[in-house]
């Protein structure tokens, strides 16, 4: 019995020492010689697929670029301060992400917070950032549902474009101009998919396009043959597949294999990446997807892409998210320099009220009441793209400038999509 008790005390002591250790870490540095930016990212786990190809290459290129010029000019300290990133791995788990976000804020007392990865993570992180008064400019993730939450989240600034902001209205305009009459929708069974399916259901009928099929698929479905066969039997003009690369790539592969050649083949997040082209080669011709810009959009955009993709394989290209993530960092930097300190409230004020210059051109946030904002769709340089001659081009319709003044179509929409090429092997 004595033995047992001593054992217990030894273990207890161990626990107490560990607890005490956790209390005495991280002492704040006295002199301000750098800006510490904290992030909780999915370096491992299922979301690493998205995180590693979306925002990660952007901050890994952008931060060294800014630091090469000395960093960000902070007028409060009268000098340029380099950015130091503090990155934790949330192993793709929301619970871990919320805890690490609070660690960054409370214990590490980072100067600024950068975003976690994915829509549900934005939903989990935004209330925390808001609670502690930290500005959160997001990267991956965005959804119509966030519009309902925005009025109560004044520190949240969402930068990615999404369904009704302003992708699907533009798509509807393009399809209507080409004479598309019917569409078949496949969507992933999650918030993202449901939302697109809903927005398709509103925007397409407005332009006289009838939805003849609307099918949801679970996120880990492997076999797309039954869905594609059903789409084929529907005879729809346009096939719209809204999912993630996990769904879009198998859907594409199965469409080619089964010889399903609709006049429009759209793949949501997936078809906009370089690896889509390297995977399918010439078969990508005419495939439609979401896209914001390419090198032809503007000299600034060309410069960004050259820097970002220099010496990297085509796999890592992303013509939808990358320009917007880059713009989100540009606008964040411009706003921080305007504030000149790490004051979050002042930063929020600048972001909420000022038009600032980014790689997109003049960029600002559309504010929701006294709450947070969405990067204004008027500042988007593109919404819909199409693979033409091996390049992803931004496409539009006649008169698009009336709604989207910054929109820059780099090629004309090809309709109908060319047939899949004959098998090479």
């Amino acid at each position: 019995m004595r033995n047992k008790s001593i054992m217990f005390m030894v273990s207890l002591l161990l626990v107490l020492v560990l607890m005490a250790l956790s209390l005495f870490v991280a002492c704040p540095a006295p002199a301000k010689d750098k800006i510490v930016v904290g992030m909780s990212r999915p370096l491992s786990g299922p979301l690493a697929i998205i995180g590693d190809s979306a925002f990660r290459p952007i901050y890994e290129t952008w931060v060294p670029m800014v630091n090469a010029d000395g960093g960000i000019y902070m007028s409060k300290y009268g000098k340029y301060l380099p950015i130091e990133l503090k990155i934790y791995d949330d192993k793709s788990d929301v619970g871990t992400m919320t805890r690490l976000t609070e660690k960054l804020i409370l214990e590490d007392k980072v100067d600024f917070l950068w975003p976690a990865c994915g829509t549900s993570f934005v939903f989990g992180q935004a209330p925390i950032a808001n609670k502690y008064g930290y500005v959160l400019v997001t990267a991956e993730g965005g959804a119509t549902t966030i519009k309902e939450a925005l009025p109560s989240l004044p520190y949240l600034f969402v930068s990615l474009s999404f369904s009704d902001w302003y992708e699907v209205p533009v798509l509807a305009g393009i399809l209507a101009e080409q004479g598309v009459k019917t569409a078949y929708v496949v969507y992933i069974a999650d918030l993202h998919g449901i939302e697109y399916s809903g927005v398709f259901g509103i925007e397409l009928p407005k332009k006289g396009i009838q939805i003849v099929g609307n099918v949801s698929v679970p996120p880990d479905l492997k076999d797309f043959a039954p869905v594609i066969t059903d789409a084929m039997n529907s005879g729809a003009d346009a096939f719209l597949c809204e999912g993630y690369p996990d769904q879009v790539l198998p859907a594409m592969g199965t469409s080619i294999a089964l010889g399903y050649n609709p006049k429009v083949w759209l793949g949501g997040p997936g078809a906009n990446f370089g690896f889509f082209h390297t995977a399918f080669g010439p078969a990508v011709e005419g495939v439609t997807c979401w896209a914001v810009a390419n090198r032809k959009t503007s000299p600034a955009m060309k410069e960004m892409y050259d820097l970002l993709y220099e010496g990297k394989p085509e796999d890592v290209h992303d013509w939808w998210g990358h320009p917007l993530y880059w713009a989100s960092l540009d606008i964040w930097k411009a706003a921080v320099e305007k504030v000149g300190s790490t004051d979050q409230d002042a930063l929020r004020e600048v972001l909420a009220t000022t038009k600032l210059d980014t790689v997109l051109g003049p960029t600002w946030f559309t504010m929701f009441g006294d709450g947070g904002g969405l990067m204004a769709y008027e500042s988007h340089t593109g919404e819909v793209g199409q693979w033409i001659n091996g390049e992803l081009e931004v496409v539009g319709y006649t008169g698009i400038e009336e709604t989207l003044p910054n929109y820059k179509a780099t090629a004309d929409f090809v309709y109908p999509k060319p047939l899949w090429p004959a098998p090479a092997e």
């Binding site: 019995m1 033995n3 047992k4 008790s5 001593i6 054992m7 217990f8 005390m9 030894v10 273990s11 207890l12 161990l14 626990v15 107490l16 560990l18 607890m19 956790s22 209390l23 990212r41 370096l43 491992s44 990155i87 934790y88 791995d89 949330d90 192993k91 788990d93 929301v94 619970g95 871990t96 919320t98 805890r99 690490l100 609070e102 660690k103 409370l106 214990e107 549900s120 939903f123 989990g124 209330p127 925390i128 609670k131 549902t145 939450a149 069974a189 999650d190 918030l191 449901i194 949801s216 679970p218 996120p219």
Partner: protein, 317 residues
């Protein structure tokens, strides 16, 4: 009567130490940093999952991977009832729903033994996740739900309360004649049945009891996460981690799964923040090394050292 006498059988020193520890923990928000409270909350969550898993596994030998299912049920109960009910009733509701589901599952799986039971319980997590997903999309037309954000200290208090009730329950269960009967199931189920132990009832009830605590923990943690969907709530990691933690700490003593969970969770936290790029690699190596050199868990190792030390002392004197 038996139960009440059991409480007083506990050695006085144990009571004292437990009490001191408890007071130290309960007053943590007064002297600890805000983040320490958050971290300890997460660690206690792991401890609850691990101890309640051990409560069923250690005596019966049935390895359940349904932890994530009961935890997730608790999370979803909070997401649905959180706005209608005050915090505590909602937490208890989370536990009760898990309890009822576990009763049903337990009754269905009576015939299953060994790895078949394990795989069945694992399938349960996935089945509930996908059915819920289907229900949310096709019936309620949503996938995610927002949960009311709670004060971190309140959450800490509630989770500490769940932990205390759990430890008392586990202690009494081990001490009572039910615990003895349970262990006879683990040793030889047929023989136990012949001895007049109502094997089925006992097994299913203990399974449901452990599920109650998992569900309650899920319900309170949901208020920290603020946004849940079926994929967030039914994360298979929550099935595997308690098993790893329990084996890591050992299961011979009342406190060994606690030690396992605390140290495991602490190492994980350190690796995620200090070596984020190599978290899994280092964690994997620690796991393999621990399992190679700690066959009876961490507590087993320390006990072995201790006994060896005692023997040498005896030899010297």
């Amino acid at each position: 009567m038996d139960i009440i006498r059991g409480v007083f059988k506990m050695p006085r020193l144990w009571w004292l130490i437990s009490l001191i520890l408890l007071v130290l923990l309960a007053t943590l928000p007064l002297y600890g940093s805000a983040y320490t409270v958050i971290l300890i909350t997460a660690i206690i969550m792991y401890v609850i999952l691990t101890v309640s898993w051990t409560m069923f596994f250690a005596p019966t030998g049935y390895l359940s991977l349904a932890t994530a299912a009961f935890f997730g049920i608790g999370i979803y109960t909070m997401a649905i009832l959180g706005e209608q009910l005050p915090l505590l009733p909602a937490v208890i509701a989370g536990g009760l729903v898990s309890f009822v589901v576990a009763l049903i599952v337990g009754a269905i799986t009576l015939r299953l033994r060994g790895v078949y039971f394990t795989i069945f319980t694992f399938g349960l997590v996935e089945l509930i996740k996908h059915l819920l997903l289907f229900w949310e999309i096709n019936v309620t037309g949503t996938r995610g739900r927002f949960v009311v954000l709670e004060n971190n200290n309140t959450i800490f208090g509630v989770i500490l309360g769940i932990f205390v009730v759990l430890m008392l329950t586990y202690y009494l269960l081990r001490r009572s004649k039910y615990g003895l009967a349970l262990r006879s199931i683990g040793e030889n189920e047929e023989a136990a049945a012949h001895l007049g132990v109502n094997v089925n009832l006992l097994k299913v009830f203990t399974f449901a009891l452990s599920a109650f605590f998992m569900g309650a923990a899920g319900a309170i943690m949901a208020t920290r996460w603020t946004y849940v969907d079926p994929y967030v709530a039914f994360n298979v990691l929550h099935s595997f981690l308690p098993v790893l933690m329990a084996i890591f700490g050992g299961m011979s003593q009342l406190y060994s799964p606690i030690i396992g969970a605390v140290i495991f969770a602490y190492i994980e936290e350190q690796l995620l923040t200090r070596f984020p790029e190599y978290f899994m690699l280092i964690f994997g190596v620690i796991l393999v090394v621990a399992i190679l050199y700690l066959p009876n868990g961490l507590v087993g190792l320390v006990r072995k050292w201790w006994q060896k030390g005692l023997r040498e002392e005896n030899v010297n004197s």
